[in-house]
């Protein structure tokens, strides 16, 4: 976005004290072999206590990088965070924290994360119990023995069968679903304030997916944790999200409560995402919708609307100016020129019809 629009409006978003995480103007750059990728572009959002925020988008849209920026676990050496970016956790900017403090006072203790693939994200040469107990040893004064006992009750909490046996096993000896439960037990060991779940069910089979989502939701309610759930699956978003935030090409393009997004979405990309979710209702012979084209290469991010080349409702202005985020309601906003009062109704433009 243009430089003059960068100062974040403090009046509107900092009023409520139950905001636990406040991300402002987050920019993430990745310096790769082929060039400098602007992976996250001027992303701002807040997370309230106890709520679930779902970040949805195609792969490569910057959603995982946003999550990892919050954890301060961006790929070392090649990543860079923009100078104006701020990530305020309970009012403190974690980007300015010394590394030592991030280790002892942030990661694992207040913010923890579960990852996509529980197979590769668990240490193969440590037992399940050791790995869970490690979090406890790091952030509490527990002794090894106490920590192992606590690990056992955590395993019970995540409903692993036969926990006394599992605690001594290695990750390879468990099934995918159980490994993800272990991961959850590990992440929740220190009762963090924020849990970031990066595609936690993508690597699991469908039946286990529902169980894991159910477990996350249950534990979240019990502990009052705020959750940021990163996914490409709008179906999951529909199930668990309080608020949904849609990302495209490194930017947030629409954000709102669950019902606003599902009932009153204004951005054509959000429509496209919803149309491509198979649902029980759409039992027509109609083919499942699939979005044509690919997202832009963020080595040279488009100056105008990033979605324009793929958009069925593309107008002249979309190719000329970057859209401006505008509020539909207090909680619902989107960045699309269709919201401009002078813009025609989508029906008048659409080549593929409306939703």
């Amino acid at each position: 976005m243009n430089e003059q629009k960068t100062n974040f409006d403090t009046e509107t978003s900092r009023d409520d004290s139950d905001v636990i995480l406040d991300v402002r103007n987050l920019d993430v750059y990745l310096n790769t072999y082929s060039g400098r990728i602007h992976a996250v572009r001027d992303v701002s959002f807040t997370l309230k206590k106890g709520e679930t925020l779902v970040v949805v988008g195609e792969s490569g849209c910057g959603k995982s990088m946003t999550a990892r920026a919050i954890m301060q676990l961006l790929p070392e050496k090649i990543s860079e965070v923009g100078e104006r970016s701020q990530i305020l956790f309970n009012g403190t900017d974690i980007l300015k924290m010394p590394e030592k403090k991030k280790e002892t006072e942030l990661r694992g203790k207040y913010i923890s994360m579960i990852f996509q693939d529980p197979t590769t994200f668990l240490n193969p040469t440590m037992t399940v119990g050791e790995q869970i107990a490690e979090s406890l040893l790091l952030h509490s004064k527990m002794k090894k023995k106490e920590a192992m006992e606590q690990a056992l009750s955590l395993l019970k909490m995540v409903k692993i069968t036969n926990p006394e046996k599992r605690i001594r096993q290695y990750p390879h000896e468990l099934s995918g679903g159980m490994r993800q439960r272990v991961m959850i037990a590990m992440a929740l060991a220190c009762e963090p304030k924020i849990l970031i779940a990066d595609e936690p069910t993508t690597a699991l089979d469908v039946t286990t997916q529902a169980d894991i989502m159910e477990l996350i939701r249950e534990l979240q309610e019990k502990m009052g944790t705020s959750v940021i759930l990163v996914t490409h699956d709008l179906g999951i978003a529909a199930e668990v999200g309080d608020r949904i935030q849609v990302m495209y090409a490194g930017e947030i393009i629409e954000t709102g409560t669950k019902s606003e997004i599902f009932k009153k979405a204004v951005h054509p990309y959000t429509w496209a995402l919803m149309k491509s979710v198979p649902s029980a209702q759409s039992q027509t012979e109609e083919k499942l919708y699939s979005l044509k084209g690919t997202p832009p290469d963020l080595i040279a991010p488009p100056k105008a609307c990033a979605f324009a080349p793929r958009c069925e409702y593309c107008m002249g202005i979309c190719r000329r100016l970057h859209p401006v985020m505008a509020a539909e309601s207090e909680s619902h906003s989107a960045g699309c020129w269709l919201m401009h009062p002078d813009a025609p109704k989508p029906e008048q433009l659409g080549k593929g019809g409306t939703i």
Binding site: M1, K5, T6, N7, F8, D9, T12, N25, T32, Y33, S34, G35, D42, V43, S44, E251, I252, G293, T294, P296, D297, I299, A300, A308, P309, R310, Y313, C314, M315, G316, I317, C318, R319, R320, L321, V324, M325, A326, A327, E328, S333, W337, M339, H340, P341, D342, A343, P344, L349
Partner: protein, 314 residues
């Protein structure tokens, strides 16, 4: 990121056709990254690696010297001159002479020829046998593969140098027999490598497609499998060459190397070893060139591996 109201949105100045449907000019998929095929990309990467380029230059220089070096001095490699025994390096004899007064400069490059030829020919033989054997085993799979790989496993568990010693006792001394001895089990690791690579490729769709189209097996192997395994094979060959040069040197040390008056870097070094305390330069030159060659191949191999490793492609 700033959120405006709809009213504020309305205040943004617009142009005439801003709200007309955009024409279908497809600026859609602009490809920003240059598309390079595997070899172009590998070459680009290799070129960027100064160490590998230096290794190539050194190897080229060594190869040129092995070709022209022996003719540069006007001495024959086996011309004995008893009046000039053990002469120090001088303007007459650039690298000095050995205990029989033979010009070391000439001998070093003649020896270099033998060492280089042995190294390259040996690696080539290893590669041929290994690629064919590994490729066939992996391609046919099942019982064929099981039996063929059992054989390799057993052969590979025999200590290499011992086998070479035994075999060279039988086949005698000379470049050809040295090659046979050293290639006897040398190809095993190459076969394993190729097999692993082919097995990985085998289940990929384009091969399935080729098979479905009725492409005969030999064409599948030569058109699809071998080109795609070439990367790992090239790297392995690069590391293989020095092991032959070293193997020959080792055999020379225990008296099974190339026979006099013919020579190699290994036998030059081995001969000089005994009198090292008095004439260290006699050892220095062959040892230096062995080390330089091994170093160059090693660095080139490292560079090639980095350049050809598909995991590093982004």
């Amino acid at each position: 990121m700033e959120i405006k109201t709809i009213e504020e949105l309305a205040c943004i100045p617009v142009e005439n056709d801003d709200f007309a449907a955009a024409s279908d000019q497809d600026e859609g998929d602009v490809i920003l990254r240059p598309s390079l095929n595997y070899w172009q990309d590998a070459w680009r990467r290799l070129r960027k690696n100064p160490v590998a380029i230096l290794a190539i230059v050194m190897l080229a220089a060594l190869a040129v010297m092995c070709v022209v070096g022996p003719g540069m001095t006007g001495y024959d490699y086996d011309a004995v001159s008893l009046s000039e025994k053990n002469a120090l390096p001088s303007s007459d004899h650039w690298f000095g002479t050995d205990k029989m007064g033979r010009d070391l400069f000439t001998r070093v490059w003649i020896g270099g020829r033998i060492s280089m030829i042995l190294g390259i020919a040996g690696a080539a033989i290893d590669m041929l046998i290994g690629v064919v054997y590994g490729g066939v085993a992996a391609y046919f799979g099942g019982k064929t593969d099981a039996i063929m790989m059992r054989i390799v496993e057993i052969l590979a568990s025999i200590p290499y140098l011992l086998l070479v010693v035994l075999v060279s006792l039988i086949v005698g001394k000379g470049v050809g027999s040295l090659l046979i001895a050293m290639c006897l089990t040398g190809w095993c690791h190459m076969a394993r490598l190729v097999r692993g690579q082919v097995l990985q490729l085998k289940d990929q769709e384009y091969l399935l497609a080729a098979k479905a189209l009725g492409t005969p097996w030999y064409k599948v192997i030569f058109r699809h499998l071998i080109p795609n395994t070439l990367g790992v094979v090239i790297v392995a060959v690069t590391f293989d060459v020095p092991s032959f040069i070293f193997g020959e040197a080792f055999l020379s040390y225990i008296g099974l190397g190339v026979q006099a008056p013919m020579t190699s870097w290994g036998s030059l070094a081995s001969n000089a070893q005994q009198t090292m305390a008095f004439y260290p330069y006699q050892l220095f030159f062959p040892a230096f060139f062995i080390a330089l060659t091994m170093l160059s191949f090693q660095l080139l191999g490292d560079g090639l591996r980095d350049a050809l490793d598909p995991k590093l492609r982004q």
